[in-house]
């Protein structure tokens, strides 16, 4: 048993001369639900595709369940479930035929669990995959990925196109999977509420770099958003390090800063602010602050 089902070492990927991933280092512990976040084009899907051996890396190494992902054996591949962004199922197949094919090729198939999922999703077996709605395709893809009882489940924006009910069903299923001992999930999503609800650990990719890699609690305690009122005009510079974002309007300053500490507090107090209140931040707020183009300061301590 590997303590880290996913290990990424110094991963670099260039595509048509453009750097997509720039020295990514990442370890996903066993039993963890890891939420990979990032804006469109930040490299989330590329990392996932490299992990699955669908895309060769330019440099670096990715290890999945103890094996180099470009040389994954059939047995190891069979322990990894995958739901692709856009759900790349064979469009010309009927649902029944696609299920038959996957069942015939899978090393392990949990018929009972799959049947339960199909009952929940109520998918039409006699329709072609291309005739299904996006939501139905997502459900089918998810059911197929879950049916192999994966030790590691990789989901690339799996709830894309699902309605609220279906999304909730999906999240419940993900939790159900994780409750089976030792299961690990890596998933990327744009719906940060979903990530916040189920993820233990968060990674944030910005322009091909992993700028955040820590637990959700660490992330929330690490980044503080403060509303500071000064007696007069807010100062131009607070001489603080690791400022993620700073907005100033008259006497008021809204400051987002990483790794808030007593030292930083002491520096702030030298400006004699009238009041300093903490603004509660959701994961979405933190994500927006971290990925904002203006936020030049990226807290390196949050990685690793």
């Amino acid at each position: 048993m590997n303590d880290y089902p996913i290990v990424v070492e110094n991963l670099v990927k260039y595509y048509e001369g453009r750097c997509i991933l720039d020295g990514i280092r990442l370890r996903v512990p066993r039993g963890c639900i890891y939420g990979l976040l990032g804006r469109n084009g930040s490299g989330k899907t590329t990392i996932i595709r490299i992990l699955l051996g669908l895309e060769p890396p330019t440099r670096g190494q990715t290890i999945v369940l103890g094996q180099d992902s470009m040389r994954l054996s059939a047995q190891t591949h069979g322990r990894v479930g995958y739901v692709a962004e856009g759900h790349h199922l064979i469009q010309s197949y009927k649902v029944r035929r696609l299920i038959g094919l996957c069942q015939g090729l899978a090393l392990h198939w949990n018929e009972e669990f799959f049947g339960r999922l199909m009952e929940t999703f109520r998918l039409p077996l006699d329709r072609k995959v291309k005739e299904l709605s996006t939501g139905m395709r997502a459900q089918l893809n998810l059911a197929l990925a879950m049916a192999i009882d994966p030790e590691l489940l990789i989901l690339d924006d799996p709830t894309l196109g699902l309605d609220t009910i279906a999304r909730r069903q999906f999240l419940e299923l993900a939790i159900d999977v994780i409750q089976r001992q030792g299961r690990t999930i890596l998933f990327s999503s744009h719906i940060l509420g979903d990530v916040e609800r189920i993820a233990d650990r968060i990674g944030v990719l910005v322009a091909g770099k992993l700028v955040v890699d820590c637990t959700l609690e660490e992330l929330k305690s690490c980044i503080k958003k403060l509303r500071i009122i000064f007696p007069e005009q807010a100062p131009e510079d607070l001489y603080l390090t690791e400022i993620v974002n700073q907005q100033k309007q008259g006497r008021e300053m809204v400051l987002t800063v990483a790794n808030w500490s007593r030292q930083k507090q002491a520096i702030l107090e030298t400006f004699h602010p009238e009041s300093c209140t903490e603004v509660p931040m959701t994961l979405e707020d933190i994500f927006v602050e971290c990925t904002r183009p203006a936020s030049a300061v990226v807290p390196q301590e949050m990685v690793g």
């Binding site: 591949h77 069979g78 995958y82 199922l89 090729l105």
Partner: protein, 206 residues
């Protein structure tokens, strides 16, 4: 492996049926021709069907590779625990199976008709063997050429590639004639295309 081979055949059923139909037509015409005329002039008839068959084999390879690339079939199969080598092996085995299914009955029919109707000349045996082997190698080469150029998303490149490679193969056989020299060159060609296609498939993004 059998599931994968069956999938290859079923997914490309039109491209599989085409060479089989041409082969069946060739056999039928040759038999009718031989029995109605009562002589050994059937050989040119079966040879006449060969270029169409080669074209059909090329389209079979192209259809397999193009269909896979366009529908991202290998991408799905690879995530089901099937290695790229197995996917590739199943594809090639399915293609070779179709080539043999189409060519062997045609060759057997030709040999039978020659034995039945042609004058018992000694050189026929060697000639038929050389022609059959050259045609078999050319058929496999055409199939591999189809696989090679089919791994694209551009229909224009697909068409241009097929035409160019088929013309090169045809001129090779025309210049060298049926025999060991053409066979050696065809064997080299198909070895190189097989290696290149395998390398492209196993290292490409799926």
């Amino acid at each position: 492996m059998l599931t994968l081979i069956a999938r290859e055949i079923r997914d490309n059923i039109v491209s599989v049926a085409l060479p089989c139909l041409v082969s069946a037509l060739g056999i039928t015409v040759a038999v009718i021709f031989a029995f109605s005329r009562g002589n050994g002039g059937t050989f040119p008839v079966t040879i006449m069907f060969t270029p169409i068959l080669l074209l059909a084999f090329c389209s079979l390879g192209a259809s397999q590779a193009y269909g896979d690339r366009a529908n991202r079939i290998s991408s799905l199969l690879a995530t089901l625990g099937i290695t790229r080598n197995r996917i590739f092996a199943a594809r090639v085995l399915a293609g070779l199976l179709i080539v043999l299914i189409c060519l062997v009955p045609l060759a057997v029919t030709t040999i039978f008709l020659l034995w039945r109707f042609a004058p018992p000349l000694e050189f026929y045996g060697r000639m038929v063997a050389e022609i059959s082997l050259t045609v078999l190698l050319a058929a496999v080469a055409c199939y591999f050429a189809g696989l090679l150029v089919g791994w694209t998303t551009s229909k224009a490149w697909l068409l241009a590639g097929c035409v160019l490679l088929l013309l090169s193969l045809a001129s090779l056989v025309v210049i060298k004639g049926f025999g060991p020299a053409a066979m050696a060159l065809l064997a080299l060609f198909l070895g190189a295309t097989l290696w290149y296609t395998w390398h492209t498939f196993t290292s490409a993004s799926l």
